[in-house]
């Protein structure tokens, strides 16, 4: 049927072929070079900066720099932040806090890297909402694991948004008996579908208590399935 084809032909997901864009933060030039390569090999777009301050500037969160655009983005939408813990000026933990306290960016997963395998430090980061904690030196398997579930979460987010759109469209059709899908979507549709999949991974950012962790250094966020 024509209407079914139209629904099926509706552009539900654009993110399948898009690369994950990672903002990597590390004051060490050597480590920046390595993490950049690890991420590129894992098919990511990478923006590498040398401080927490620069990371905030890139996101548009630096208080001293006025946001010119409405969403404050300087560049591409960031899907993931990977940051070193020990940095002069702003630590990775402080950067994590600032990101999680921001309404615009709190949904972006933040991964902490540290050469020190200190349980208290790991717990503190996870409690503040860190997605994961990697002990340095970072290996390809660490990066692959993180990119895998970031991609899964992004895709699931898109799919949830798409399903919501489909439901919204169907509901509207039932109400109005209207074949025309080009009219503006009803207000019941999630507004996040056109931007980052922020609302769909909300559940993933709620901090898990240490007792639910598989291991102190690793925690896979399980997104709620529909």
């Amino acid at each position: 049927m024509r209407t079914t084809e139209k629904i099926d032909g509706y552009d539900l997901s654009t993110s399948d072929t898009e690369e994950v864009h990672v903002l990597a933060v590390d004051d060490s030039l050597v480590d920046r070079k390595v993490i950049e390569r690890l991420l590129r090999i894992s098919s990511c777009k990478v923006t590498a900066v040398d401080s927490g301050r620069r990371a905030l500037q890139y996101l548009g969160l630096d208080e001293e720099i006025q946001k010119k655009e409405t969403n404050g983005f300087d560049g591409l939408k960031v899907d993931l932040i990977i940051t070193d813990y020990c940095m002069p000026g702003m630590t990775g933990y402080e950067l994590l806090k600032k990101v999680k306290e921001s309404s615009a960016f709190r949904e972006i997963p933040v991964v902490i890297m540290s050469s020190e395998n200190v349980i208290a430090r790991i717990d503190r980061c996870l409690e503040k909402g860190a997605e994961d904690f990697i002990v340095k030196p970072v290996k390809l398997s660490d990066v692959k694991r993180i990119i895998d579930y970031t991609t899964t979460e992004l895709r699931e987010g898109e799919q949830r948004g798409a399903r919501a759109r489909r439901r919204g469209i169907n509901k509207r059709k039932q109400r109005e008996g209207d074949d025309d899908l080009s009219s503006s979507p009803p207000s019941t549709l999630s507004s996040s579908t056109s931007s980052s999949p922020s609302s769909s991974i909300q559940s993933a950012t709620a901090p898990l208590s240490p007792s639910t962790l598989d291991s102190p250094t690793r925690r896979l966020k399980m997104t709620s399935s529909e």
């Binding site: 060490s28 390595v34 020990c86 030196p137």
Partner: protein
């Protein structure tokens, strides 16, 4: 090509001996795996950055330890911490091990111990630099065939 095979074997043998002697650890092998046709000189580039880092940090440590008025051990420790980090990231095991000892002396505010470690770290860095440069020469020669 027999020459290429020979060179490749030389590379593998030399690389293996560096691992055996403790100059390099598994992290270096990890970095070698990240090298491919898109990024054929990745390891050489990282190593170059590492050596620049070493020189800068060793100078910082030396300057801080020279202070007659009183050594700022926190400053020395900060540099050692950085060196430990980058040596760990590249797989420079012997350099990293000296850094670990170095940090204990910083914590104990032991100037003599720190100076000894500084000497050791300088020595290990020079050794490694020589050996890696040999390794890279073989690598580059192999690639040019």
């Amino acid at each position: 090509m027999d020459v290429v095979n020979q060179l490749q074997r030389q590379f593998i043998d030399y690389s293996a001996s560096l691992h055996r002697e403790g100059f390099l650890d598994d992290q270096f092998t990890q970095l070698q795996k990240l090298q491919d046709d898109n990024s054929p000189d990745f390891v050489v580039e990282v190593a170059s950055l590492f050596f620049e880092d070493c020189e800068k940090l060793i100078n910082n440590m030396a300057r801080a330890l020279e202070q007659q008025q009183g050594v700022d051990f926190k400053q020395v420790d900060a540099s050692v911490h950085q060196l430990k980090g980058s040596s760990s990231s590249i797989g420079a095991m012997r350099v990293k091990d000296v850094c670990i000892a170095f940090r204990s002396f910083c914590e104990a505010q032991n100037r003599e111990g720190c100076l000894r470690c500084l000497q050791q770290v300088t020595h290990e860095y020079s050794l490694l630099k020589n050996k890696l440069q040999t390794l890279f020469r073989v690598h580059i020669t192999t690639c040019s065939y």
